[in-house]
């Protein structure tokens, strides 16, 4: 069990004012350190599943255990704290607060989580030093660090978002189609860097995409359509 990062059993979730559950998964198991490609067509309930994994919403029945914590047993506030401490999240786009500088955007993750800061302390590094390391690693030139994040290109913004997700070594990173706005070259670079960092820090990666060409970057592919029995009428992928 200890090696499982995510374990879901009989999880069901139904949006308000909908008769059928959007998520109805009998069994979901993702090992720690595993890098998973979660694939599904538009409207297959991907976003809903991610918000369950991230603890934004709670399952209505069944158990969903992330890092040995049964999320359904936690209050909203505790789930928010859990997310801040243990989960890095990367959106498809618009990950950054455009009015903060690049470095401030990265440090924001530390601002919201004491334990991320503590982990950095244990490694004898400061939040500032670590964000600079990550930004350099992800190819963001130092002259951009103090620029407002809104000035960066989409590709650069996604890499800054990755740095923010990675800082303080959370156990799990959830990426919701972070490469869909990037061209093929940028996509591969981005994925390679993300993978390397995850590998080094033993971070579990759940990467959502409907792009089949990316499969070779991952340990395993989970087809959402196969495991989810829920009827999905989500209004498209956001």
């Amino acid at each position: 069990m200890a090696t499982l990062c995510i374990r879901g059993q009989q999880i069901k979730f139904c949006w308000p004012r909908q008769s059928q559950p959007t998520i109805d998964i009998a069994e979901l198991a993702i090992k720690s350190g595993e890098r998973i490609l979660l694939r599904g067509p538009s409207g297959s309930g991907k976003s809903t599943l991610l918000s369950l994994l991230a603890g934004v919403h709670a399952v209505q029945s069944g158990t969903l255990t992330v890092l040995d914590k049964d999320l359904s047993q936690l209050s909203q506030r505790k789930r928010d704290k859990f997310r801040a401490d243990h989960i890095g999240y990367i959106f498809q786009q618009f990950n950054l607060l455009p009015y903060l500088s690049v470095i401030q955007n990265v440090l924001l993750a530390i601002d919201f989580s004491k334990s991320r800061g503590q982990r950095l302390n244990e490694r004898n590094t400061s939040a500032r030093a670590e964000s600079e390391r990550l930004l350099t690693r992800l190819g963001i030139a130092s002259e951009l660090w103090e620029k407002p994040a809104g000035n960066l290109s989409v590709g650069q913004q996604q890499r800054v978002a990755a740095a923010r997700a990675l800082i303080g070594a959370p156990e799990l990173i959830i990426a919701d189609e972070p490469t869909s706005a990037l061209d093929t070259d940028a996509r591969d670079t981005f994925l390679n860097l993300l993978n390397e960092e995850c590998e080094q820090q033993n971070i579990t990666l759940v990467f959502v995409t409907h792009d089949t060409t990316l499969s070779h970057h991952f340990d395993r592919i989970v087809e959402l359509a196969q495991i989810n029995q829920g009827t999905s009428i989500e209004g498209g992928e956001a």
Partner: protein, 450 residues
């Protein structure tokens, strides 16, 4: 703390909106405090204007009108009192002292009050404070005493010459330049209309208006005087003129006698007189007695109660202003509400990002409350700054136009209360967008609905 910082950064990113909203709040705060400040200063200014005088007596008119022209030098006397009537009451056994005043002339817009030198002994303001001389002394024949503000504005010292103009406007077409006055004294600042006035002897006023022939010039003949409004003019009543030449001759022969010489009136008519009584509780009987005097229609007022009456009249106005400034504040706050609510729609992404890094709906709520409060507090600070800026620049003008001294003092309790009201109102207003954002963040979660 970090939330407040985030709120400030977010506001800064929407600078133009934030600044406009802030200015709306600032202006309404300034108005709210300004109304309070001005009415406060007016109230204390009024209350401090006169004390120690038991009765003020003038020709029959409204009591507020009498108070305004005799003490504040605002408006004009309706009519004059004859010197004989004044003498009658001055010699009343109840009267401890009395000081006549005659109004109607001015120097560059500053009123000239013709009186007797005993004025400086008996007149009291604030808490029974008497007038003191910054330099010089009381006037004698051909001399004048000026208030502190007049001396400052017109740059007058003891020994300067002063030409008095006919009428009370700041621009006069008729100056008594044939009879320049010598400045004998400059009064210490009092913060009352005394600062704005010029005091001369009754006799001198009469002479200026042709009461005697010793300095009479062509431009002082009765024709040129007819062109002016005689009714408002104390020292030069028609009746007095028509009494014929022999009375004028009498004046002439006594032109250099002392004022105390009761037998010869220094001036035919006066505008009003201040009375101090032997026994203050008698004031109400004395007032009645004067009001029912058969020889001449008179009005006697007790300054304290008339000040009250005046203040009651003005307090309605003050309340109306407060209500209006309250509504201006409400408009400012609603403007802020509208701006922030509108911004919420375009900031749903921002909220999703914050939630993804662990901000709970509670944090989003706090963020929105802080944002609104940062705006409100900054608006309040700027508003107070504007208020002081205006007081600093406008105080001299207010003083010279209305005789109200607005001091650059600290924030009073009443003003703190109003600031607290703004703060609380801002807080309640902030709950609305905060609640909206809270609900949005619950339903949106991590999805970025734009």
């Amino acid at each position: 703390m970090r939330i407040a910082k985030l709120a400030a950064a977010s506001l800064l990113s929407r600078k133009s909106n934030a600044v406009l909203t802030l200015m709306a709040i600032a202006i309404s705060v300034m108005l709210l405090l300004g109304v309070e400040r001005v009415s406060q200063e007016t109230r204390s200014g009024f209350a401090n204007t006169i004390s120690g005088t038991d009765l003020i007596v003038g020709a029959r008119s409204g009591s507020v009108n009498l108070l305004l022209y005799s003490v504040f030098h605002i408006g004009n006397p309706t009519n004059n009192i004859t010197w004989e009537t004044y003498q009658h009451w001055a010699n009343n056994s109840q009267v401890a002292w009395s000081v006549p005043i005659a109004l109607g002339d001015s120097v560059r817009g500053y009123p000239v009050v013709a009186t007797e030198p005993t004025f400086f002994e008996h007149f009291r303001y604030a808490q029974q404070q008497s007038l003191t001389f910054a330099s010089g002394q009381a006037f004698q024949r051909g001399e004048a005493v000026v208030g502190a503000e007049v001396a400052r504005q017109l740059n007058l010292q003891v020994g300067s010459d002063l030409v008095i103009a006919h009428g009370t406007g700041s621009v006069s077409f008729h100056e008594h330049d044939d009879h320049p006055m010598h400045i004998a004294g400059v009064l210490e600042r009092t913060g009352t209309p005394v600062d704005q006035a010029i005091y001369v002897g009754l006799r001198d006023l009469d002479i200026m208006h042709g009461g005697t022939d010793d300095h009479a010039h062509d431009d002082h003949d009765s024709d040129s005087h007819d062109a002016h409004e005689h009714g408002e003019h104390a020292g030069h009543e028609h009746d007095a003129h028509e009494h014929g030449a022999h009375e004028h001759d009498e004046h002439e022969s006594h032109e250099h006698t002392a004022y105390e010489h009761d037998a010869q009136p220094p001036i035919p008519g006066i505008s009003a007189f201040f009375v101090g009584l032997q026994s203050k509780p008698r004031a109400i009987f004395m007032q009645r007695e004067i009001n029912t005097y058969r020889e001449e229609p008179l009005t006697a007022i007790m300054p304290g109660s008339t000040l009250h009456e005046l203040w009651r009249t003005l307090s309605g106005f003050e309340r109306a202003l407060s209500v209006v400034s309250g509504f201006v504040l409400l408009a400012g706050l609603l403007g802020m509400l509208a701006t922030i609510l509108a911004s919420l729609r375009e900031r749903r992404r921002e909220m999703a990002v914050l939630r993804s890094i662990g901000a709970g709906p509670g944090t989003i709520f706090t963020l929105l409350v802080s944002e609104t409060m940062v705006l409100t507090l900054a608006g309040m600070a700027v508003g107070v700054g504007l208020l002081y800026g205006f007081i600093f620049t406008l105080a001299p003008w207010i003083q010279s136009s209305f005789g109200i001294v607005v001091e650059l003092s600290g924030i009073s309790n009443a003003e703190w209360l109003r600031l607290a009201i703004v703060f609380v109102a801002g807080f309640f207003i902030s709950l609305i967008p905060a609640w909206r954002a809270y609900r949005n963040s619950l339903s949106d979660g991590l999805s970025m609905r734009v």
